[in-house]
C-alpha cells in the first residue's frame, strides 16, 4: 500500500518500493482510484524506488496517457541516478515532468 497525500490540486503517491511486475497490479489500482477522484495532477515520489522494469515503465506511461486525456500531467520526484539515465535514454523526459 503506497503512501498517498493530497495537496491543493495534486496528489502525491509514494510507492516506496520497486516498480516492477509484481507490484504493478496494485499500483495500477491505486493510480486509477486517485484519478477517479478527479485529481488534476499526479506526482509519483520515487524515493525508495531503486528499480523499475519494463512493466513498471508501461504503468507510468499509461498513467501519463490517462492524465494527458484530462490535460493533466504526470510528475516524477526523487528519481535515482540509474532510473534517470534510463528515462533519459528513452527520451521519456519529453513526456513526464521529471524536474518540476
Amino acid at each position: 500500500m503506497s503512501q498517498v497525500d493530497a495537496f491543493d490540486d495534486k496528489v502525491v503517491i509514494r510507492p516506496g518500493r520497486d516498480i516492477v511486475a509484481s507490484a504493478v497490479d496494485e499500483l495500477r489500482a491505486e493510480f486509477v482510484a486517485i484519478l477517479d477522484k478527479g485529481a488534476a495532477g499526479l506526482v509519483v515520489d520515487m524515493a525508495g524506488v531503486a528499480m523499475i522494469d519494463s512493466v513498471g515503465i508501461g504503468l507510468l506511461i499509461a498513467a501519463h496517457n490517462s492524465l494527458a486525456k484530462k490535460n493533466a500531467a504526470l510528475e516524477l520526484r526523487n528519481v535515482s541516478a540509474d532510473i534517470q539515465s534510463l528515462f533519459r535514454t528513452m527520451r521519456l523526459e519529453k513526456h513526464f515532468s521529471i524536474a518540476k
Binding site: 499509461a62 496517457n65 528513452m90 523526459e93
Partner: protein, 413 residues
Amino acid sequence: MASATDDSMMDDEILAMFIEDTKEHLGGIEANLMDMERQASDLDPELVNKVFRAAHSIKGGAGFLNLNNIRDLSHKLENVLHMIRNKEIVPDNRIISKLLGGFDKLLTLVENALESDEQDISEHLAGLSGLTEELLPDEQKGSQHKTVDIALPDGRPVFAVDALSLIQALKGGNFLYLVEYDLIHDVHAQRKTPLDVIKAMESSGLIVDSKVDVTAVGDLDALPTNKIPFYVLYSTIVEPDIISYLFAISPDRIHRLELDPASLAADMPAGQAPDAASLSPGEPGESVTPVTPGADGPWNETVGAVALTGQGGLVTIGAGASVTVDTVLDLRQALLLALSRCRETVVDLKGAVNIDLAGMQLLCSACKTFAAEGKKMSLSEAGGDLGGQAERAGFSRVAAAGCDAPVCPLHAG
C-alpha cells in the same frame, strides 16, 4: 535529501547529480587534450575514446534537463572528437585549442547550469561549427546543418537526425541499425531490465538516438500493457547476421540503414535529395535497397584471387581452386561486395577442388546473411564430392530455410 513536496529542492537534486557527473567527466579533460596533442598521429585510442564519451554523455544529460546551450556545445565538441577518434584529422595545436576552449566554456556553463541558457555561446558554437566545416571533406560539407528523417519500413518517421551525426555513425565500417524493441517481450520476458539492454548496447556501439512510442502504450483503463515499442538508432561494428543473436531480438525488427554518406551530405543536385521514403529500410525480400551506381551495367572486379562478374542484379563469384582457411578472407570480401551490389549471387565452385571447414562455414554464414537481407545466394557446379560435403555440412538446409543453421557469422571466416 529533498523533501517530497519541495519542487525547487527536487530540481536542485537532479541538477546537482548532473553537475557532479559532468565535473567528473571534465576533471581530467584538459590534461587528456594536451596528451592528445602531444601524441598527434600516434593517438592512444582509449584516451580519445574517453574524451569522446565524456562529450557524448554530457550531451545526453543536458538534453534530459533541457539545458540547451550545454547540449549544443557538447554536441559540437562530439562532432570534432569523432573525426579525431576516426583518424580523419590529426589533433594539432589549433584543433586542440578550440576543443580546450569549448570544454572550458562547457565547465563554466555547467557551474552555473540554471543560468546557462541565458549565456551567449554563439561564438563558441560558430567556432566549432566552422572548424568542423573546414575539416570535413568537400563531399560532407554542410551536413551538420541538414536534418534527415529516419523512418520505419512502413514509412513512419521515428527520428530526425543531423546528417553529419549519421555520416559519423557509419564511419569506420560501422553498421547503422534502426532497432524496434518491445520492452515487454524483448526485455521483460527475457528477464532483463531496460537499463541492462541500454548498457549492453552502449558497450558495443553508440546509441545515436532512441525513444519509446508512448502513444502505443494505452492508458490506465486499457488492458495491462503488452507492448511498449522502444526504437533505437544504433551504430556498431556488429554485423547484420549476428546482431539479432547478440540482442536476442527477431531479425525482422532490426533494420539496417544503408545510407550513402555521399547522398547524406548537403549539396545534392536537384531531384536527388534523399527523402524519408528512400531512406526507409527495406522490408526483407523487397528489392528497394539502393543499388550502387553502375551496378546495372556489366562489371568485373577482383578481390585477391577471387573474381566477380556482375550483370544486372546478378553477380557471379568464381571461387577458384581452393576454398580454404587460406583463401576465405578474399572470398568473404567478395561476398560482402556482392551483397552490397546485387540482389542475387551465384558462387561458382566449378574449379574448386579443395574446400575445408572454414570455407564451408563461410558459405553457410554468407547464405544466412544474404537471406536475412532478402537476397539470394546459391552455389553452382560443385564438382567432385563438394556437393556431397556441402550437403553433409547442412548447406542445402541452410540455403532452403535461410536460417535454420547454427550461428556461423560471415566475419568468422
